[in-house]
């Protein structure tokens, strides 16, 4: 079996508040970039599938040359190979089309694994778009892979407040959530291997694809209104403070 884990380069969590509106508009960020936190869970999920059910897991990303560093992180975690699709122009549907073309070019992928969403774009729509582009079934909210082989997969999905056990025919796209597993730390040996490994770079032309014009147009990037900065503290014994707080919340009509 072959697993392909799709990752994206996003700002480090602690740096997200520092992203400026003009940087978000241009896409040229000055903050520290890392593997999207949801995709770290996808990497862990894919590597665990490789260990549990056999086969090989590779990583792929769509981005500029700097994104190669993120692929090295994926290799250091245990992916066997990595591929960069070099493009910084595609919107979500364009990325889905590029990834689908890469999956077709590889030809032997059994399961594509993604994080459920990214911490920059936040829409969570890419996994479904990729599944539709491939014509494969899509399982989102995957919390646990129960069984998988060349023909069929069984997973537990989080659906609203419920948990569904579902099966689907291979090949399929899985979008995983954090419960799939905490990302492992890279080993020294893997870090060394990752530093040396050749990472193929494919252009859209290599994939025989023209990146479609963006269908989504964003404007008026701005910071959300700041919260009232001043906190009102209640003092006294626990009961005194609690009563004063409850009375205030009742007066604010939020209770």
């Amino acid at each position: 079996m072959r697993y392909l884990i799709c990752i994206k380069q996003t700002p480090d969590t602690a740096e997200l508040p520092k992203v400026k509106p003009e940087e978000a508009a241009s896409g040229r960020l000055s903050v520290q970039l890392v593997v999207n936190p949801w995709d770290e869970h996808a990497l862990e999920g894919g590597i665990r599938m490789m260990e549990q059910f056999g086969g090989e897991a590779g990583a792929i990303t769509v981005g500029g040359e700097d994104a190669i560093e993120r692929l090295r992180s994926a290799l250091a975690m245990g992916c066997k190979d990595a591929t960069l699709i070099q493009d910084t122009t595609a919107d979500a549907w364009g990325v889905a089309i590029l990834l689908a073309a890469a999956v077709r070019k590889m030809g032997n992928i059994t399961y594509v694994i993604t994080g459920q969403m990214t911490v920059d774009g936040n829409s969570g729509t890419l996994p479904v778009a990729l599944g539709r582009a491939l014509g494969w079934p899509v399982l989102t909210g995957v919390a646990r892979v129960v069984a998988a082989d060349e023909t069929r997969i069984t997973v537990e999905r989080i659906v609203g407040q419920a948990r569904h056990t579902v099966t689907a025919p291979a090949p399929a796209v899985l979008a995983v959530v954090k419960e799939i597993g905490e990302p492992r730390y890279p080993t020294f040996i893997n870090i060394r291997k990752a530093a040396r490994m050749a990472i193929p770079v494919w252009t859209p032309a290599d994939l025989g694809v023209q990146v479609p014009a963006a269908k989504v147009h964003m404007s008026h990037f701005r910071k959300p209104p700041a919260r009232e900065a001043k906190v009102v503290l209640f003092n006294g014994t626990p009961d005194e403070a609690a009563q004063a707080l409850i009375d205030t919340l009742l007066a604010e009509k939020v209770l």
Binding site: P11, T13, L16, P17, V19, A24, P37, H41, D91, A92, W93, A96, V119, D120, G121, N122, S123, G124, T125, L126, V128, A129, R132, P137, V138, L139, T154, V159, G160, Q161, R163, H164, V166, A168, V177, K178, V216, H217, M218, H220, F221, R222, K223, P224, R227, L233, F234, N235, P238, D239, A241, A242, Q243, L245, I246, D247, L249, E252, V254, L255
Partner: protein
């Protein structure tokens, strides 16, 4: 402008935030139609009319009792063709998000996902949505027809029941085969309030560490008195104090209740990404320097093991519960 609103159901029961999408569509003006898919959902179709939809498309079939991406996408495409709606709107639940993405990708149109606000400017839809985990707001438009958008739960008021009636157009389920088979469904305990729909959330964090079971028991008791949902920080989930489905924050759920009570939560960036847009934030923390106090409206500096039971007592007394 004509808007078709997807009314999500689950084994015959309506998913409440669908009425918020209907309410938002009605506030935009123009013609508003509803699409109810599920089984058995004739009463939900009637309710959509009672809440102001001018026409209701109904696909009621045993194969539709649970959401299935392949089947529902085929249904929506068929109804969009029949309705010729300019806009397709769904609530940004997991299923609503997936459905909007599949329909949009198949039709070659973009999706304005997870909107906090929707407006019509020069006859076209403009959605306002957070990106960078709530740190940037942006206005979004899409080309083409239909324009597809999803609305974040609790971003709009549900359409009220006005006692109207609307014609119901019963459609046959689209000819499609499902590939995904559901073999088991484990539901939340009855009475458990969904985090994304909750108007009040009481959340616990690392501060419960000295006795996590007692800490979350106290938090649950307060939540019960307030009619609130229970949440947790990533630190509490990672430490194994409470399951992942309760996690609020960047790799968990994004919530926007009227009242968020953070108990023993320091307020790390990744937690704020999940609850920063709550209307009123209350912080209870031993550490007066904790970052949560810089976003909180109200706070008590103290031990949650003393403060939370005191709040439960005070709330019981004041609310007569």
């Amino acid at each position: 402008m004509k808007t078709l609103v997807f009314i999500e159901t689950d084994s015959g029961a309506v998913v409440g935030s669908s009425w918020e999408a209907l309410g938002k569509a009605l506030s935009l003006g123009g013609e508003v139609e509803a699409l109810v898919i599920g089984h058995p959902v004739a009463d939900v179709a009637a309710e959509a009319g009672a809440r102001g939809a001018a026409k209701v498309y109904l696909i009621d079939d045993p194969t539709r009792a649970l959401f299935d991406l392949d089947l529902y996408t085929a249904d929506v495409k068929a109804v969009l063709a029949a309705s010729q709606a300019d806009v397709f709107l769904a609530s940004h639940t997991g299923n609503g998000r997936d459905l909007a993405a599949a329909v949009g990708f198949d039709l070659g149109v973009g999706v304005i996902a997870d909107c906090l606000e929707l407006n019509v400017v020069d006859g076209r839809l403009v959605g306002t949505r957070p990106i960078y985990s709530g740190n940037i707001l942006v206005d979004v438009q899409v080309d083409g027809q239909p324009q597809i958008a999803t609305l974040r739960p609790r971003a709009a008021s549900p359409a009220p029941v006005i006692g109207a009636t609307a014609p119901v157009v019963t459609m046959a389920p689209a000819a499609a085969t499902n590939r995904v088979v559901v073999t088991a469904v484990e539901r939340a305990e009855t009475g458990e309030i969904s985090l994304t729909d909750a108007s009040i959330i009481v959340s616990g964090g690392r501060g419960v560490a000295k006795d996590p079971d007692l800490g979350f028991k106290l938090i649950r008791e307060l939540a019960q008195v307030l009619g609130a949902a229970v949440g947790a920080s990533r630190a509490a989930v990672d430490a194994g104090f409470i399951p992942y489905k309760y996690q609020v924050g960047q790799t968990g759920k994004v919530v926007r209740p009227d009242l968020y009570i953070a108990c023993g939560i320091s307020g790390a960036v990744q937690h704020l990404a999940g609850m920063g847009s709550s209307k009123v934030i209350v912080a209870i923390n031993k550490d007066a320097e904790a970052p949560i106090f810089s976003v909180a409206n109200y706070g008590i500096v103290g031990d949650l093991f003393e403060i939370v039971p005191a709040l439960t007592r005070a709330a019981k007394a004041r609310l007569n519960r």
